[in-house]
Symmetry: C2
Subunit: 264 residues, 2 copies
């Protein structure tokens, strides 16, 4: 975690006076992703799990289909670059640049998807169910896991859960990056996302929803609000969208059948 923090001197002010103290802020790091020797993009991110971020990003953007397609990954911490070599180039990268779709919410913002991607996305099918108490327990554990957030107040977090435990956890200054790191780790370590749950600290916009649907995840849970397009995509793609999990309450925006109100 130390790598993700930077110490600085700040002045704390209140009506009563001022004091100079040492504080920490979340480190912001420019990471360039180089796909098959072509500079694809530079992300501003937290400098941890760069390998997972690069692979998760490429997967989210449809530039890598599966683990087998990846021949080699070289992380260059010093120069802030991850080089990824894949089987067959198919001019995907260069085409992708002309299908930009910039984001909105709290997060990276570029997405190389367009309307056609949404149409191509198959509906998520899953018979998984989770109880209200399980959702509350997971979100509670999720909040306790976020070390950088508690230290700096300046990052987002995301997690993958099997309804009982948190299996993969990540933090990043960008909410998109945090989710891409989760999926990158899953892809490289053969962790299934089917019948699992994504938990996020951030708002659920259309891009976040599409990213999660692509991994066939049936339930997404957030402490924050969704946007109208996030809700519409969740409805159309068969995902259960749970927002505003706060205290002992939550809002279910779509497909509530997967949330059991009494046991399972």
């Amino acid at each position: 975690m130390d790598n993700e923090l930077e110490k600085i001197s700040i002045l704390k002010l209140s009506e009563r006076g001022s004091s100079s103290i040492e504080d920490v802020v979340a480190k912001e790091f420019p990471l360039t992703i180089i796909l098959n020797n072509r500079e694809l993009v530079t992300l501003l991110c937290s400098p941890a799990n760069l390998r997972y971020l690069a692979v998760g990003f490429l997967f989210s953007e449809g530039l890598v289909k599966n683990k087998a397609a990846i021949k080699r990954i070289i992380v260059d911490d010093q120069r802030g670059a991850v080089r990824v070599e894949t089987e067959g180039d198919e001019e995907l990268a260069s085409n992708a640049l002309f299908k930009r779709f910039i984001t909105s919410g709290c997060g990276r913002g570029v997405s190389f998807y367009n309307a056609a991607d949404v149409q191509d996305q198959v509906r998520v099918e899953s018979r998984i169910r989770i109880s209200i108490l399980e959702v509350l327990a997971l979100v509670n554990e999720f909040q306790h896991r976020s070390q950088v957030y508690r230290t700096t107040g300046g990052v987002h977090s995301a997690a993958l859960s099997d309804t009982t435990n948190i299996i993969v956890f990540s933090e990043d200054i960008g909410r998109h990056n945090a989710i891409d790191k989760i999926f990158g780790e899953c892809l490289l370590n053969d962790i299934t996302t089917d019948d699992h749950i994504i938990i996020t600290s951030g708002r659920i916009s259309s891009e976040i929803l599409l990213k999660v649907a692509r991994r066939n995840v049936p339930i997404i849970v957030s402490k924050s609000a969704p946007t109208s397009l996030g809700v519409r995509l969740a409805r159309d793609l068969g995902l259960t969208l749970v927002g505003f999990v706060r205290g002992k309450r939550m809002n279910v925006y779509t497909h509530p059948g997967r949330i059991a109100t009494n046991g399972k």
Copy 2:
């Protein structure tokens, strides 16, 4: 404001039971910016002040230098597009596409700037001063202005202030968009930003800082945290960065001389 909201039916759940209610979420709207007949980008935004957003975006990306450069703006609400025609094209738009720098924090995320832009940015010089009590009063008024946030919990807000009053206010699902809307409005309505203050609900990353420095704004105030690069840029470019304004307290990260602890 109604235009920025969408009514939906949701299920409210707690341990005690469930109830089906009408709720509202923040509308997410894809807006394509067409510069001199070329599709530049599609932003996901709140559907208000699209004209300001388009101009503010073009200005932030260095594609429009001033109001005089704009020949014509046509807003097409139905098709989700704003067409902007400028004096001289200079192939700026197409070049810009190859200088992408993707973001991090909560916000749009693409920025067409690169390291050279930071070097070109001149230091902000301003003798403006503001007292702690003025900062607290402004942030208090700022929070009360945010109608869509209070209704949906799903948007960011930004404001321009002259230290006493809020002069321009905007809300958007993206924190970058909210600030671009402010600057677009200033540019089109000849509102100066020199010696003024930007207030934002969002975290202050390097891109936000650079955007504000470009408008020669000497003070940026946020309820949230900055990132390490945000702090470094503020220090190098001469901006006073105030974060974590909560209750009666705040943190001053850089150039504290503009914050008067007793009167001015």
